[in-house]
């Protein structure tokens, strides 16, 4: 059977990996290529790169980094950040990305999901969503979690999958950076609504949180950044820990 996936996420700004807490107060952490090598050797099942650079210069730097990572590391790479058009898909796929994640770009132009799925296949299109509880509703947020779109996140996910998204990254703003565990209530709700793989993001603070996550059958992968970047949790140890608890892991 398929193994559950452990995915470190690298937020890259101007060529460096950064990770914020509740999306604010970014602090510099390390070199993305070095970190990708480290994670590859630690047994990461996949790597996610988010380009949070705004400038064109930073974008160029990012594609160089991506090309370098993709020429050395042979596990799946997902790339997101600033993806708005098919040209953006094309640009990162040519640099060695396997999957492309869209977030705000799909909110401003939802047709990008269908167009990309038709051109590159469903498996290539990852719908990434930042979601927060507002007035008893799971609400979709845009622009790195800063703007309330007023859209119901679960309906948005269902529509995205219908249009061709092959996987969903659900990032709970409510649990992100708090390290108190994944947002299981939100994840269960999503798992009940869609039948594509779900990657849980936001809230991992220790190994137990992953063990708890994978008792929820609809969840395929756990994504985290700072706990891996700071070596608070070692991926090799985590995978052994989970395997001992009966979770299928690639070791």
């Amino acid at each position: 059977m398929l193994a559950k996936r452990i995915i470190p996420c690298l937020d890259v700004k101007n060529g460096r990996v950064v990770k914020g807490t509740n999306f604010e107060g970014l602090r510099d952490m390390a070199d993305p290529v070095e970190m990708a090598r480290f994670y590859n050797e630690s047994g990461a099942d996949e790597l996610v790169f988010y380009d949070i650079t705004a400038s064109a210069e930073g974008r160029g730097l990012f594609t160089d980094i991506l090309r370098q990572v993709a020429s050395e590391i042979f596990i799946p790479l997902t790339v997101g950040g600033g993806i708005r058009t098919l040209d953006d898909f094309d640009r990162v796929l040519k640099c060695g990305a396997d999957k492309v994640s869209v977030n705000s770009g799909a909110i401003s132009d939802p047709s990008i999901i269908g167009a990309a799925a038709k051109k590159y296949g469903d498996q290539c299109v990852v719908l990434s969503m930042d979601v927060k509880r507002v007035g008893g509703q799971f609400r979709l947020f845009a622009k790195g979690g800063r703007v309330d779109t007023g859209i119901d996140a679960m309906e948005w996910a269902v529509k995205g999958v219908r249009d061709g998204a092959g996987e969903i990254v659900l990032n709970s703003i409510d649990t992100d950076g708090v390290k108190g565990g994944f947002d299981l209530e939100m994840l269960d709700e999503l798992a009940a609504r869609v039948d594509v793989p779900i990657i849980a993001s936001g809230g991992a603070g220790n190994m137990e949180h992953f063990a708890e996550l994978f008792t929820h059958p609809g969840i395929d992968a756990g994504l985290a950044a700072s706990i891996f970047h700071t070596r608070q949790v070692d991926i090799k140890d985590l995978k052994r820990f989970l395997r001992e608890r009966g979770v299928e892991m690639r070791i």
Binding site: M1, A3, D45, A70, E72, F74, P76, D98, Q123, D195
Partner: protein, 203 residues
């Protein structure tokens, strides 16, 4: 030199990078003379069967591949492996290359547990069912990376390795004569995948 057949299907960056990382000389080409001169040929592919087969037919290279596949080691990867079979039922009925006996069918139709997700995407362990030089550096049960919705069946005599997904034994590696195929992506299967590619290069 290992030739990677260029027929406008899929992204060849990772495949060529992985072969380079193994220190192997490779060339992405649609040139019949280069395919004839190559020591080995790899047929990649992603996307839909009918579309890919039409593109491959349009290159005019099929008769060359047919001849060369009898003379030298040949490897189809993912959709490139599916194209090796007699036919596929993906969006209608399409004829394949017929290099390996068998057919390609919808995985969903054969899965009893309808809650299992399709595409079969992620890391699954590969069970060796028949030993072969391709497994020289590979251990039984190692994990490999799959992304596919259709799979090859009725090809048991050619099957070298399988991965279990629900009730279905997904055909993971096949061999018929000098023609090999992997349903998973060795170029995305970490170190285990690179070791399979190395063994292929040494055939």
């Amino acid at each position: 030199m290992i030739a990677i057949v260029d027929y406008g299907v899929g992204n060849l960056f990772s495949l060529s990078s992985s072969l380079k990382a193994l220190g192997l000389e490779t060339e992405i080409t649609a040139d019949a003379a280069k395919l004839r001169a190559a020591d080995k040929i790899i047929l990649p592919g992603v996307g839909a069967f009918g579309d890919a087969k039409a593109k491959l037919d349009a290159t005019g290279l099929v008769p060359v591949l047919q001849e060369e596949a009898e003379k030298k080691p040949f490897l189809g990867i993912c959709l490139g492996m599916q194209l090796l079979f007699d036919r596929s039922t993906e969006y209608g009925e399409h004829a394949g290359l017929g290099f390996v006996p068998g057919q390609v069918v919808d995985l969903r139709g054969d899965l009893e547990d309808k809650t299992l997700k399709v595409p079969h995407m992620g890391w699954n362990s590969l069970q060796i069912v028949k030993d072969d030089p391709i497994f020289k550096y590979f251990e039984d049960g190692e994990y490999v990376y799959y992304v596919h919705s259709f799979y090859a069946k009725d090809c048991l005599p050619s099957t070298l390795g399988t991965s279990q997904y629900g009730n279905v034994s997904v055909t993971g590696v096949v061999r018929h004569g000098r023609v090999y195929g992997t349903q998973f992506h060795p170029e995305k299967s970490g170190d285990a995948g690179l070791r399979l590619l190395r063994a292929f290069a040494e055939l």
